[in-house]
């Protein structure tokens, strides 16, 4: 059952909404944020072009109309599996764009009059809903018969006549007809005239048949259903994939069909014995021309009734049916692009030469509508350019894809060529990818954590991870230097207990830094080490406890925080070594750092993507959720940027792989060579 449906513009205004149950607006906000803006979800995932997004036990499916700037979102519970949502989305997109597209294209429109849209939407839902989880506005208990209706256009019938009168009559044959199903028929189990294959039955009791015929109060209903059922007869039972329908015992019944059909009587007792008796109350016990005639008859009456009784609404529905069919058919057919004939319309040398000249002219002058063929070659060149800047092929492909979807069917501006348009669009895409959602201000965060009120004050814990030899210890000392200059007390923890000389290396760094800081009279720095061979996680935990110094040795005054910041170095490890990577998880849980930075060197090539991904997924907390809102780490430090010159594509690859922003750049081998990221500078270098 659909919980809600909204139509909103890309600028955030809701043009129309329908909520069947209260939905918090937080859901769609997070959809927009996570998928459209931050692009945390890979696009194109999802069947038939209606990708899905899950949050909080809800699933959201959406589709967008780029030309008018609209997004259509359908919300339903994750437990359900509604297969008709894609067709609903496609149909709504087509119809809404047709109805209101012109109005929306004029600038400065903030709202449209959607009064006519409500009945159209209701009709659409009724038509496309496959029925098993359809909300019934009438009081028929849809437990038995109606549930297994095959996807039919019984919408019209439902809309005009909720028949309460036949309902009780329907109940009676419910149980016997269940046995029908057991015998081996597939989809429809209400009192429909399905000729069952093994009709070794006595004639149906006359009275039963007669009152059944009247019980089919919506006569058109049954007949249409029967016709549909006959067409579906050959197909597998109940392919609608609805998992939550209540009356599923029939499926179970069908399963036992092979074994030996169990039958149940009214009181719920199993009936042993012969499979005879009153089974088939359907009227097709006397099939024949008069039945068909009656069906036709009934159908005729029905349509005219539909037409006259409910007036305008139903007439819309009639047109709607054709339109919706057309939309659904066209969307499901594969797109055939006949762009091969575009350029070579004329035959011969002259025509092709003149067309080439005009396209060249248009290219220079601008105002050209971009097609896929136009964009292909320049995008190829752009991709090669990015690859030459050391961007991973995966990231380059994704960026070019984004540019292509952005520019397809747009017109170029005056006097701009296609190449410059693509450059502009690529610059925008790169800027968007590299800009963090919220910029990191390390000093503020440290101050706010260390100055928490009284008992809540604790040291700020930063840990550095990365593969072997990227510059973790060097960059850690640069960060320590930066913090010392700002008058913090820093504890450096030698968490690399594996590599020979790691602890000594850090000791040298700490000695230099303390000499520097003493000379200037700022800060205090110390080394915490436990030698070699110990478990890094326990070393880290002990270090944090030491820095926090909670009330252990306290001559006079409670345990004051000894250090403001704890910097934990870790051993370098290959990202494809699962044993070493799993020890990172334990490290993350024991040390519980405020920030986890991964160091990646600017020289690495396409390996950066795999590195970033593997490291990010190791940092889960005890509940199994990735820390930092599900991304894993808090930032990248890209080291050795001075050695690569212009080829800073590693920035892009790592951000593309994980969505984690780059926070620092290492631009040298001295203590002061640490910079923040300026997105404009990076994009300039990439596009040069």
């Amino acid at each position: 059952m659909l919980d809600g449906f909204e139509i909103l513009t890309t600028s955030g205004i809701v043009l129309w909404r329908r909520h069947y149950t209260p939905i918090s607006s937080n859901l769609i906000d997070s959809l927009v944020r996570d998928v459209f803006i931050e692009e945390k979800q890979k696009p194109g995932g999802g069947e038939n072009g209606a990708p899905s997004y899950k949050k909080d036990r809800y699933t959201l499916r959406w589709t967008s109309a780029k030309d008018v700037g609209l997004v259509f979102v359908a919300v339903y519970q994750s437990l359900l599996h509604l297969s008709w949502i894609e067709s609903l989305l496609t149909a709504v997109k087509g119809l809404f764009t047709k109805a209101y597209g012109q109005e929306l294209k004029t600038p400065h429109t903030l709202k449209v009059n959607t009064a006519q849209w409500d009945p159209t939407f209701d009709a659409l839902v009724n038509r496309l809903d496959t029925g098993s989880t359809r909300r019934q506005s009438d009081t028929i208990d849809s437990e038995g018969p109606t549930e297994l209706t095959p996807p039919s256009s019984s919408a019209g019938d439902d809309a005009d006549e909720p028949p309460p009168v036949p309902a009780p009559l329907f109940r009676k044959p419910a149980i016997p007809t269940k046995r029908d199903d057991v015998v081996g028929d597939s989809t429809s189990t209400d009192a429909t005239p399905i000729p069952t294959p093994d009709t070794s039955r006595p004639a149906t009791p006359g009275h039963a048949a007669s009152h059944l015929l009247t019980a089919k109060g919506g006569p058109g209903k049954a007949s249409r259903r029967s016709r549909k059922a006959q067409t579906f007869n050959a197909s597998a039972p109940v392919s609608s994939g609805d998992e939550s329908s209540a009356g599923r015992n029939l499926k179970g019944g069908a399963k036992t069909a092979a074994k030996g059909k169990r039958r149940w009587d009214v009181d719920g007792m199993a009936i042993e014995g012969d499979d005879d008796g009153v089974l088939d109350y359907s009227a097709s016990a006397t099939p024949g021309p008069e039945n068909a005639e009656r069906e036709l008859d009934v159908a005729d009456v029905n349509t005219s009734q539909m037409g006259s009784r409910t007036g305008k609404g139903q007439f819309v529905l009639k047109d709607l049916d054709d339109e919706v069919d057309a939309i659904l058919a066209s969307s499901s057919k594969p797109q055939q692009q006949s762009n091969a004939t575009d350029d070579s319309t004329g035959s011969g040398l002259l025509a092709s030469a003149s067309s080439r000249l005009t396209s060249l002219f248009r290219n220079v002058v601008g105002g050209k509508t971009l097609t896929k063929a136009d964009l292909q070659l320049p995008l190829q060149q752009m991709q090669t350019h990015l690859l030459s800047k050391n961007v991973a092929p995966e990231a380059a492909t994704r960026l070019c894809q984004a540019v292509e979807t952005d520019l397809l069917d747009q017109k170029t501006a005056n006097y701009t060529s296609i190449e410059s348009t693509i450059r502009d669009s690529m610059t925008k895409a790169l800027t968007r990818m590299l800009t963090p959602t919220s910029s990191l201000d390390l000093l503020r965060e440290v101050t706010s954590v260390t100055s928490g009120q009284g008992a809540l004050a604790r040291p700020y814990v930063i840990s550095i991870v990365g593969v072997n030899g990227v510059g973790k210890s060097t960059n850690l000392s640069k960060i320590a230097f930066f913090l010392l200059q700002n008058h913090f007390r820093v504890l450096v923890v030698a968490g690399d207990t594996f590599r020979s000389g790691a602890v000594e290396q850090l000791r040298v760094h700490v000695r230099n830094l303390s000499a520097l800081s003493q000379r200037e009279g700022v800060g205090k720095v110390e080394l915490f080490e436990k030698g070699y061979g110990k478990d890094a996680a326990t070393v880290a935990r002990d270090a944090v406890a030491f820095a926090t110094n909670k009330g252990t040795q306290a001559p006079g005054g409670s345990g004051q925080m000894l250090y403001d910041v704890v910097l934990i170095d870790t051993a370098g490890r290959r990202h494809n070594d699962s044993r070493l990577m799993s020890s990172l998880t334990k490290f993350g849980q024991l040390a519980n750092p405020d920030k986890v930075f991964m160091v990646g060197e600017a020289l690495v090539g396409t390996d950066s993507v795999a590195q970033a991904r593997n490291f990010a997924k190791e940092f889960v907390d005890t509940k199994g959720k990735l820390r930092n809102n599900g991304v894993g780490m808090d930032g990248f430090i890209i080291s050795k940027c001075d050695t690569v010159g212009d080829m800073v594509g590693t920035l892009v690859s790592m951000v593309h792989a994980t969505g984690i922003p780059v926070v620092f750049l290492g631009v040298g081998q001295h203590y002061g060579d640490l910079r923040g990221l300026n997105v404009g500078w990076a994009v300039d270098k990439l596009m040069k």
Partner: protein, 294 residues
């Protein structure tokens, strides 16, 4: 052929009629060209007001309120949106400042263009580029969520964005390339969501933000250098130029921005609460400020 020759002879001869025709022609032709070009080129720029602020503050909601009179439900914006609206009849515009109350002659309220930008961190470039783009930007409405300011994270995010915006305005004012300073852009700080129970009143919003901005400018000045330093050849980054407000002052006050031409006012409003006051609709505080600055 003969007629042409005759005509040319007449035209180049020093007869009175030829001189008169030439005179009239040469005087009216430029005027005609001028009127033709100016009629085509003149697209009267409406005064524009920019709406910006952190995500979730209520900018798009405020836009719909000001444009339509009632707010529509909204979600996070992905793209900027413009709307053209007219000052309501209850508001006086700056042109009518000295008009007497009893003056009953009809006056047409000026129409303005409102530009709403997305507040999400990745899409702030829309707001920043609209700030620096030299259109007829008459004022800035910085919308904040008064309820989220009581939490540290929300306060920090808001303060950082406001810092960036104010610094941009200050730099625009002090570092103009010509001696003529660009027109000052007044800023209205709209403390939105006053109907929420945990929201802070407008005065408290102002003081909290001032305090936080002081802290932000402290840490920004001490922070790491940007990787883009040395990229542009403006010389060394002057420390004074990136210090918001008064250089060397202890705390930050919005009044310090006045010397850089940034006039900041704070009002509290609520887009979804009931309209207060008789005869005044919702958002009247914004309208009165807009009217004063049009």
């Amino acid at each position: 052929m003969k007629k042409l020759e005759d005509w040319l002879t007449w035209a180049l001869s020093p007869s009175i009629s030829a001189i008169l025709v030439t005179l009239i022609f040469s005087l009216t032709l430029p005027i005609l060209i001028h009127t033709y070009l100016y009629k085509r080129a003149v697209a009267k720029e409406l005064p524009t007001f920019l709406l910006l602020g952190p995500s979730g503050a209520g900018k798009t909601s405020l836009l719909t309120l000001l444009a339509n009179g009632t707010p529509s439900p909204t979600h996070t914006s992905q793209a900027p949106q413009t709307a053209i609206c007219q000052l309501p009849s209850t508001t006086r515009s700056s042109e009518d400042k000295y008009r007497s109350e009893n003056d009953t002659s009809s006056r047409s309220q000026p129409s303005i263009q409102l530009l709403d930008t997305p507040g999400h961190g990745k899409l702030r470039h829309h707001a920043i580029s609209s700030l620096t783009f030299p259109t007829a930007l008459k004022g800035l409405l910085f919308v904040v969520d008064s309820a989220v300011l009581s939490s540290a994270a929300g306060l920090t995010e808001t303060a950082e964005f406001l810092y960036d915006v104010l610094l941009l305005l200050q730099k625009r004012h002090t570092q103009g390339k010509t001696s003529k300073t660009p027109l000052a852009i007044p800023v209205l700080l709209v403390a939105n969501k006053q109907d929420v129970f945990t929201s802070l009143p407008a005065g408290l919003v102002k003081s909290k933000l001032e305090e936080e901005l002081g802290k932000v400018r402290q840490t920004r000045s001490k922070g790491l250098l940007d990787s883009g330093i040395g990229m542009d050849d403006d010389g060394e980054a002057d420390e004074e130029s990136s210090w918001l407000g008064e250089y060397g002052a202890n705390g930050f006050k919005f009044a310090q921005m006045r010397e850089h031409g940034v006039d900041l006012e704070v009002v509290g409003t609520s887009t979804s609460g009931e309209g207060e006051g008789e005869g005044e609709g919702r958002g009247h505080e914004c309208w009165s400020w807009i009217g004063a600055n049009v």
